[in-house]
């Protein structure tokens, strides 16, 4: 984190043209954005797209920002494009849902300065709540879609996209997937070309989207689709590779193309780089040269349906899955099935060993742990959750969240539970958990809805002063901008109050103080009406966190009660287990523990539920050196 921030605050001298660099897809897009003379680039962090703007921000001669959400990032890019500046925004797939309101009208105004939207689909769902196919937006919004297959192509297609955008006055969608964003490959880079904005031209028929103006422009969208279909057919981004084994021909784009080439090096392939509108003549040529046509697309049955509608017979999701990546391991048996061959069972050595799952978990000293431990000990509550590190509170040992839907949903969902519940739930208390960054992204409106509509919800605003899950990016409440430089620091208490929560129903608490947390939560859930508890401590992965003196377990004092294990800290380990029969006859499991003092950063959460006071500070002489250097005197 420290390294990242210092790099951000000092723009790099970019490696010179003709350098051969090992770049991730995200870094390759960023380099191309800079080379294309982009003036404005905006994004909200989201895996797997986060590093695009992080990398862009390190280049000189452009403006980059963390926007409060994806919709705003797109609006910022559009505004810049209106002046004739080249503009760029990046987001993860679900971010484009948020931005779609802007997109669906921006496509009518069109772009003036080149306007490119990079959208990253989390195919395989490494870090998302759904797996959706952003190629649909190209159809829905009538904009072209480009799909790179590796870092070099991500770089080249980004540069091409700006020219395409300007030539046809259209926003261009650059569709990436996790397997593009987070794969590093060699990229030969080029020169930066400067682009001075031509200037904003007053033109209400174009920029003021009232019905009369929009109606006049909409036929242009359909015309643009037709024009681009021809451009796609002529485009060198769509390559028909003849191959020698013509039993099956493939249509593929993005990472799926590489997988097809790996598995079937001799087959004919139509590689789609310019995938929407797809090239009809090249498609017919491919169909004519092979016995069977297989569309290999991640994730939905989109091209397949369109190709069939165009009267070309093809296969696709009848043999391939709609979920996850289409790796060679998936493709080989699918093609065997398509050709009616017997599919050999996988070799026994290739079967995975059974190993315990290792789900992501909260860090040692994570301030969220205190809140989730508290919630896990309170009965008769329904807790709506949201998107961020704190979604992990739904897992073991806390099992403290009952819902997670999308960014900012927690408060609307909680209000709906409050209003919808019948007699069976009437004695339950409703809570909503949200992080500071998510709150500012899409959460504020939900809270306003609660206060305006007399909701009875207690909101737990977990303020760790950063966007944690994506790696610790700055937020409007962190007092830092994308470069780590000082920015106005938004006061969350004042926002909450302005949104209609009575001042006496706002508590700011320290999530390392369990008694304070218990008292605050118990108090607020008892009182009718909205309340907000802001639990404030910095994320342990940011520079702002300073470790405390670590703890150890005095093993002769540990009674094996296991209370500390329930806190959920990854630095606590069970050394051995036992069972005892209580005088009541009840059998109780015991878990004797130790603390990994190298990993412990001394938050003290585990100390509080320890009945026999077995958890004590590590003697000063034994404190790990990296903690001595940075820790608080405690």
């Amino acid at each position: 984190m420290a390294a990242v921030m210092s790099q951000l605050s000092n723009p790099l001298a970019p490696p010179p043209a003709a350098s051969r660099l090992l770049l991730s897809g995200n870094e390759a897009v960023a380099r191309a954005v800079w080379e294309s003379g982009v003036r404005v680039a905006a994004a909200y962090p989201g895996t797997p797209a986060t590093e695009i703007i992080e990398s862009v921000a390190r280049y000189p001669d452009l403006y980059a920002e963390w926007s409060v959400n994806e919709k705003v990032s797109m609006e910022v890019a559009l505004g810049a494009s209106m002046t004739g500046a080249r503009a760029f925004c990046a987001m993860k797939h679900v971010g484009l849902n948020v931005a779609s309101d802007c997109l669906m009208t921006m496509t009518i105004t069109g772009a003036y300065g080149g306007l490119v939207i990079a959208v990253a689909d989390d195919v395989g769902m490494s870090s998302s709540q759904n797996e959706q196919d952003s190629r649909y937006w190209g159809r829905f919004a009538h904009i072209p879609v480009l799909e790179p297959a590796d870092s070099q192509e991500a770089y080249e297609m980004t540069k091409f996209a700006f020219g395409l955008s300007e030539q046809y006055e259209t926003p261009v969608l650059l569709r990436l997937t996790t397997r593009i964003c987070h794969v590093k490959g060699l990229v030969v880079v080029g020169e930066r070309e400067a682009h001075e904005p031509a200037g904003f031209v007053k033109n209400p028929q174009r920029w003021v989207m009232v019905p009369a103006h929009a109606k006049a422009r909409i036929p242009g969208l359909y015309q643009r689709d037709e024009t681009l279909r021809g451009v796609s057919d002529a485009s060198p981004l769509n390559v028909l590779e003849a191959g020698t084994d013509r039993s099956v021909g493939f249509v593929a784009s993005g990472p799926a193309y590489m997988h097809v080439k790996e598995a079937f090096p001799n087959a004919p392939v139509l590689k789609l780089g310019f995938s929407h509108p797809w090239p009809p003549e090249k498609m017919r040529a491919l169909a004519a040269m092979c016995d069977k046509l297989l569309v290999v697309e991640e994730t939905e049955k989109l091209l397949e349906t369109e190709i069939k509608a165009a009267g070309i017979a093809c296969h696709g999701k009848d043999v391939l899955p709609s979920l996850g990546e289409l790796s060679p391991q998936v493709l080989l048996p699918a093609v065997d099935r398509l050709l009616g061959k017997a599919v050999p069972p996988p070799a026994p050595a290739a079967a995975p060993m059974k190993v315990f799952p290792r789900p992501p978990t909260l860090c040692a000293s994570c301030p969220h742990m205190g809140m989730y431990y508290t919630l896990s000990q309170i009965k008769n509550i329904i807790v709506a959750g949201d998107i961020g590190c704190y979604t992990l509170g739904a897992g073991h040992p806390w099992n403290a969240l009952d819902t997670t839907i999308c960014m900012g949903a927690t408060m609307g969902v909680a209000l709906g539970i409050d209003k919808g519940r019948g007699a069976v739930d009437k004695n339950k208390r409703i809570l909503a958990v949200i992080g500071d960054s998510t709150f500012m992204h899409m959460g504020m409106q939900g809270l306003l809805d609660i206060t305006y509509n007399h909701g009875n919800v207690t909101v737990l605003l977990l303020d760790n002063n950063t966007t944690g899950m994506t790696g610790g990016q700055a937020t409007p409440a962190s007092g830092k901008d994308i470069h780590g430089k000082e920015a106005p620091k938004v006061d969350l208490v004042k926002i909450v109050e302005a949104l209609g929560v009575p001042n006496e129903r706002i508590q700011v608490v320290d999530p390392y103080e369990l008694p304070v947390l218990f008292k605050a939560v118990r108090e607020e859930i008892k009182i009718e009406g909205p309340s907000v508890i802001i639990a404030r401590r910095p994320c342990v992965l940011t520079d702002e966190f300073k470790p405390f003196r670590p703890y150890l377990v005095e093993e002769d004092k540990c009674t094996g009660c296991g209370n500390c294990v329930e806190v959920g800290c990854p630095a606590i380990h069970v050394t051995h287990r036992d069972k005892v029969i209580k005088p009541s006859g009840k059998e109780v499991d015991l878990a004797f523990v130790t603390i990994d003092s190298q990993a412990c950063t001394g938050c003290g959460l585990c100390v509080q539920p320890c009945a026999p006071d077995a958890i004590q500070h590590v003697p000063r002489r034994d404190i790990p050196i990296h903690i001595v250097k940075t820790s608080h005197a405690s």
């Binding site: 797997p48 490494s126 490959g185 799952p357 073991h396 990854p570 878990a591």
Partner: protein, 204 residues
């Protein structure tokens, strides 16, 4: 298949152990040798104590960045159970180099799952060639636990299709600005990693 001239190396461990940095240095070495290289990055939730794997493929021309099960020449495991988890990626003549570290996640501490008693033993029983060693004690003996990653890189150095010095040069380059003392410590760690594996693989 065009995989014949491609080297597949799988590096696995847990978020925060340095898996991605180690693979990055291996990739730099392959590039220095003139190979085409693709390397996966795993990010997002993996940094919260989750499973991390990094696929490194290099050769004349690399297409898919993903390694298929049963095709790995060298598996570099930063943790025992993680090496076991990915051991089916090894090809029959593949080699697993495994750090003996045992990192137990909260789901095991809670008693919901068991940690395997002997992960590398289980791999050997399945017919894999495995060398295990304790990179962290080797690093500690050299005076600095943070040298563990360089010990891991030393361990793999003699099982790459290029000279160990190519890899060492990349490590030295990375630490050069931290001064001669740090570079020397890394040279020693690299040598210790090589030795830890060599003394087990050499005939007695």
């Amino acid at each position: 298949m065009s995989q014949n001239d491609i080297t597949n190396i799988l590096v696995c461990g847990i978020g925060g152990q340095g898996v991605m940095t180690a693979t990055e240095i291996l990739a730099e070495a392959a590039i220095a040798e003139g190979h085409d290289v693709k390397k996966t990055e795993v990010a997002g939730m993996a940094q919260r104590g989750g499973v991390v794997t990094s696929h490194l493929r290099f050769g004349r021309k690399v297409l898919s960045p993903q390694i298929e099960p049963g095709t790995v020449q060298v598996l570099l495991g930063f943790e025992g159970a993680e090496a076991l988890r990915w051991s089916h990626y090894l090809r029959p003549d593949g080699l697993a180099l495994v750090n003996n570290a045992k990192l137990v996640p909260p789901v095991v501490e809670l008693g919901l799952f068991d940690y395997p008693v002997d992960p590398t033993g289980q791999m050997r029983a399945a017919g894999h060639r495995v060398v295990s060693f304790d990179a962290m004690s080797i690093a500690r003996d050299l005076g600095e636990v943070r040298l563990g990653n360089t010990v891991m890189l030393g361990a793999i150095a003699d099982y790459l299709p290029f000279a160990p010095d190519v890899l060492l040069a990349c490590i030295v380059k990375r630490f050069a600005r931290k001064g001669e003392q740090v570079v020397d410590a890394n040279r020693r760690a690299f040598a210790a990693g090589r030795e830890a594996v060599a003394k087990q693989l050499a005939p007695a």
